[in-house]
């Protein structure tokens, strides 16, 4: 089966610019996660969707970050305006149905560099 697809793989932008990342989860997976991973750290959960509804966005900096999952499939994460500290890898993951005790399947991530 196809894995989680993310694009682009790399992105370099200047501070105060905008950027968007795209994620296509595994077909049929109801839960979609966006994580931010700063170099040398573990992934930090930004937002979690169950189908097209937000389950948790407690760590999403809502003044600059936004995310949507229209039709409960693909998702887009946007940063506007970007800051230097947003430089990180943005990982998308999905899991079936969202119930507990299930593994999460990750994409390769988008590496963002803000200069």
């Amino acid at each position: 089966e196809a894995g989680v697809a993310q694009s682009p793989r790399y992105k370099i932008i200047e501070k105060r610019q905008s950027v968007a990342f795209w994620c296509n989860p595994i077909s049929g997976h109801a839960t979609l996660y966006w994580y931010q991973q700063i170099l040398g750290q573990g992934p930090k959960l930004l937002i979690q969707f169950q189908n097209n509804g937000v389950v948790d966005d407690s760590q999403l900096p809502k003044d600059r970050f936004s995310a949507e999952r229209l039709k409960g499939v693909d998702s887009t994460l946007k940063i506007q305006p970007a800051k230097l500290e947003d430089s990180a890898v943005y990982l998308c993951a999905s899991s079936p149905k969202g119930q507990q005790n299930t593994e999460a399947f990750f994409g390769q991530g988008t590496r963002l560099t803000v200069v």
Binding site: P43, Q48, V55, Q99, Q100, A104, F106, G109
Partner: protein, 114 residues
């Protein structure tokens, strides 16, 4: 607040030895815990899941233990190989909504030398 701690320093071992990685957590009582492997430039890959009522779980050369009293999980790789070199992450479900919410530790980098 909840905290998940893993050794931030890299673990260097020789091929053939057993690697032991630690995951400690505070202020939470998870029903289960997961371990992932992450290679440079890649997303994490699931390895094992252990439930609170399971003291030990094995998969090939991997073994995970879960001590809910100590609030600690140990991850062992026996007969380690250079190909096992990677960063290993533990993750806990810290959901309050009924939907799984995976929160990751900082990860420990393992280097296995020939």
């Amino acid at each position: 607040s909840q905290k998940i701690e893993q050794n931030s320093e890299a673990l260097n071992i020789q091929e053939g030895k057993t690697a032991t990685l630690t995951c400690n957590y505070t202020n939470y009582s998870p029903a289960y815990l997961q371990w992932y492997r992450q290679d440079p430039g890649r997303g994490p890959v699931f390895l094992l899941l252990i439930r609170e009522n399971e003291k030990e779980k094995r998969k090939e050369r991997l073994k995970v233990t879960f001590d809910t009293t100590l609030k600690q999980s140990l991850f062992h790789i026996t007969a380690s190989q250079p190909a096992d070199s990677a960063t290993y992450l533990c993750a806990l479900d810290m959901s309050t909504t009924g939907f799984q919410k995976l929160v990751f530790g900082t990860g420990t980098r393992l280097l296995v030398s020939p």
